[in-house]
Amino acid sequence: MALERSDVEKIAHLARLGLVEADLPRTTEALNSILGLVDLMQAVDTRGIEPLAHPLEANQRLRADAVTERNHREAYQSIAPAVENGLYLVPKVID
């Protein structure tokens, strides 16, 4: 199934990715070429095969529920695009 331009616009919205209008035909073509490669997978018989998420099948390690971090707010906010009084600034969300 080939993606249409409208599909690409929908996926781009899901990914919060602003595409340049003029690039859409080229992007659609490239995605269809990639999905053509990926679709070769569908011919593989994987009945009864368990999916493999971690190559060594390790489980997520747990740690003690203890405070180990100190406050880094100043260091982290020093590289932010816009901050004020310790808060990150974004455009107004609700009028």
Partner: protein, 483 residues
Amino acid sequence: MHQMTLAEIARGLADKKFSSEELTRTLLARIAQLDPQLNSFISLTEDLALSQAKAADVRRAAGENGALLGAPIAHKDLFCTQGIRTSCGSKMLDNFKAPYDATVVAKLAAAGTVTLGKTNMDEFAMGSGNESSYYGPAKNPWNLEHVPGGSSGGSAAAVAARLLPAATGTDTGGSIRQPAALTNLTGLKPTYGRVSRWGMIAYASSLDQGGPLARTAEDCALLLQGMAGFDPQDSTSIDEPVPDYSASLGTSIQGLRIGVPKEYFSAGLDPRIADLIQASIKALEKLGAIIKEISLPNMQHAIPAYYVIAPAEASSNLSRFDGVRFGYRCEDPKDLTDLYKRSRGEGFGAEVQRRILVGAYALSAGYYDAYYLQAQKIRRLIKNDFMAAFNEVDIILGPTTPNPAWKIGAKNSDPVAEYLEDVYTITANLAGLPGLSMPAGFVDGLPVGVQLLAPYFQEGRLLNVAHQYQLNTDWHTRTPEGF
């Protein structure tokens, strides 16, 4: 002085033939002179380098003698370096000064390495030619019109051109081994979980692994020794003792069983590369290795599965770049959605955008089973193939790449053409196995690599075989003209 390997530098520093500061100044001058041709560095860190070199000289004068004490290296620009730009090859992070050091950076600094700079790379490590970098392509010192491979292309170009003896890289689908092959270096991707990923900017978290690029296996052993080990900060780090990699280099390979998968030599492999691989097999046979034909029947499914798993994980990982907390923010956003969309649309390059879109699609409602789950099932088939093969053989050998380095721009029109270059390297990432590429000869003046794969945590075996090979061949000693 610039021709020395890490091992030779360690001996020279121990014998007081030169100081780390002298060596560092020599290499910084060489970089200033030659890097404009190569574009292998995104940032130089001269001040840091000189202060680390002086500190290493002081430590050595006080009696310390570590193999990496005072050794000059560079980091791929996706390892976070505190207070220093960590761009990941992207406009998105062009202004990003990391607030902390990656574990790899901190460990190597503690061992006394001297950081000369941050090396060029494909944007967010997505690419095989270093052409997707926001800072422009790095060039292959063997032919400046050709790519050095990717995504750790800057590290490879810099080490191959003798700007420095070794550098760090990362490998998600071949990004250490492939550039090593294309520039006549030795490069090692460790077992998944062997080297900490903390502070290593994530591309595909279940595949990414850091490792060394250097000219010899002996040097890779030294650098890996400084990188490897359990890290509680990385939840996928494996708590497994780190052996002395240099100690096993000298072991004889008499009786070593080498498996050669018959699938490796099918259509698509440059026949001249096939001949060089056969020659490397002969050389190892002469050293006492036993060659066996094996089969990896699911290998052909690896690229399709990889191009679901890696983009899916990337689309999730890269959602953190939102223009709010760090990195690029667009001008005059009209609302929050516009801020997200334009910051990401303007901050990410074309290949990163494509992979985010493929990943978002593969994970979206209605497609998850057909894409992500099917890819993970194929991942198990590929792992099972390797487990069966390693019941019969000790290592697996084959080409690292199907072709030598291509001309810059030659694959720009079709991303899939570039993806296919990773056919031999991707399987090790999907299975989490360690892999090494080492020099095996030349085609049209361009280097060719031979790849070795081993069972989990057998990095020492890979380095041992590569070292024995390098004691008996001289491909790895060849230097590109003009460097």
